[in-house]
Symmetry: C2
Subunit: 163 residues, 2 copies
């Protein structure tokens, strides 16, 4: 992923982002036994359609777009648990929110950049960070199971706009 695509222009074509993700997921579903039910798929689609991290209740609000009665919160959380376990979604701890993974299929620890201006979240690929964490932890005899890196700051696009 290039530096440009990490934080795309605000008014870019979201449709392509969604399609890219969902086609990858579709391939995974065909290959493996990934039980992507309609409900789980809808939650993933909602997340894929937003570069801004969404809370569970945000997702809930965007699901019931006209159907019958809205789902209960627990339904959304269950779908999110499934998607998290299968690496299709990342949790943003510092926001109590969720973001679609931009590299599904490749198991990885998420390194997230969070723009405090536009509120968008992007993944960062930086083996150097992961390596530095592994080395430092090992020096302290700490066994790493899940490194969390969330970098708050201002994205490329918002820095440019402000000038």
């Amino acid at each position: 992923m290039s530096a440009e695509s990490a934080f795309p222009p605000i008014d870019h074509d979201h449709g392509r982002c969604v399609d890219l993700l969902m086609s990858t997921v579709e391939r995974l579903r065909a290959e493996q036994t990934l039980r992507l039910t309609p409900q789980r798929r809808r939650v993933l689609e909602v997340l894929a359609a937003s570069h801004v991290a969404l809370g569970a209740y945000d997702i809930l609000a965007r699901l019931g777009g006209g159907d019958g009665r809205p789902a209960a919160p627990i339904s959304v959380y269950r779908a999110l648990d499934f998607l998290l376990q299968h690496g299709l979604v990342h949790r943003v701890e510092s926001l109590n929110a969720f973001i679609a993974c931009t590299r599904p299929g490749e198991r990885h620890d998420a390194l997230l950049m969070i723009c405090s201006v536009c509120r968008r979240v992007a993944e960062l690929q930086a083996p150097a960070i992961v390596a530095a964490i592994a080395e430092s932890a090992a020096a302290g005899q700490f066994l790493v199971t899940h490194p969390i890196v969330e970098i708050a700051g201002i994205c490329r696009v918002c820095r440019t706009v402000d000038r």
Copy 2:
């Protein structure tokens, strides 16, 4: 800080941890204009007495040890905000909890190790991690304001015990 003191033995003398922190804070209070009211001090003492991160309501429960009516949640949050702003406490995002800073006075970004067995949290000093984050973010034209690093895993002590 040595690798040993980061995660001290489970049954070590907590009193010394508290004293060390509070004496440092006392010095800061004398030097600067740090308005450490009784309420803020009590919250800090509660946190200093625990190597396990405490939620706001945990703190609340440990405050009212026999006095008059217990404080309201908002009081604890206000004290925590103050302590956070003055670098005496860190927020643990992935736990929605708080931990006393082990290096008050030295402004720094917190690198936290969280043991999933004993639930204790320790700070890690690792300039290499901070540098790697700064470099990688800069490469993506992202301006870092506040890096969050929380490393979940198993601490030195718990790894040893399990053998």
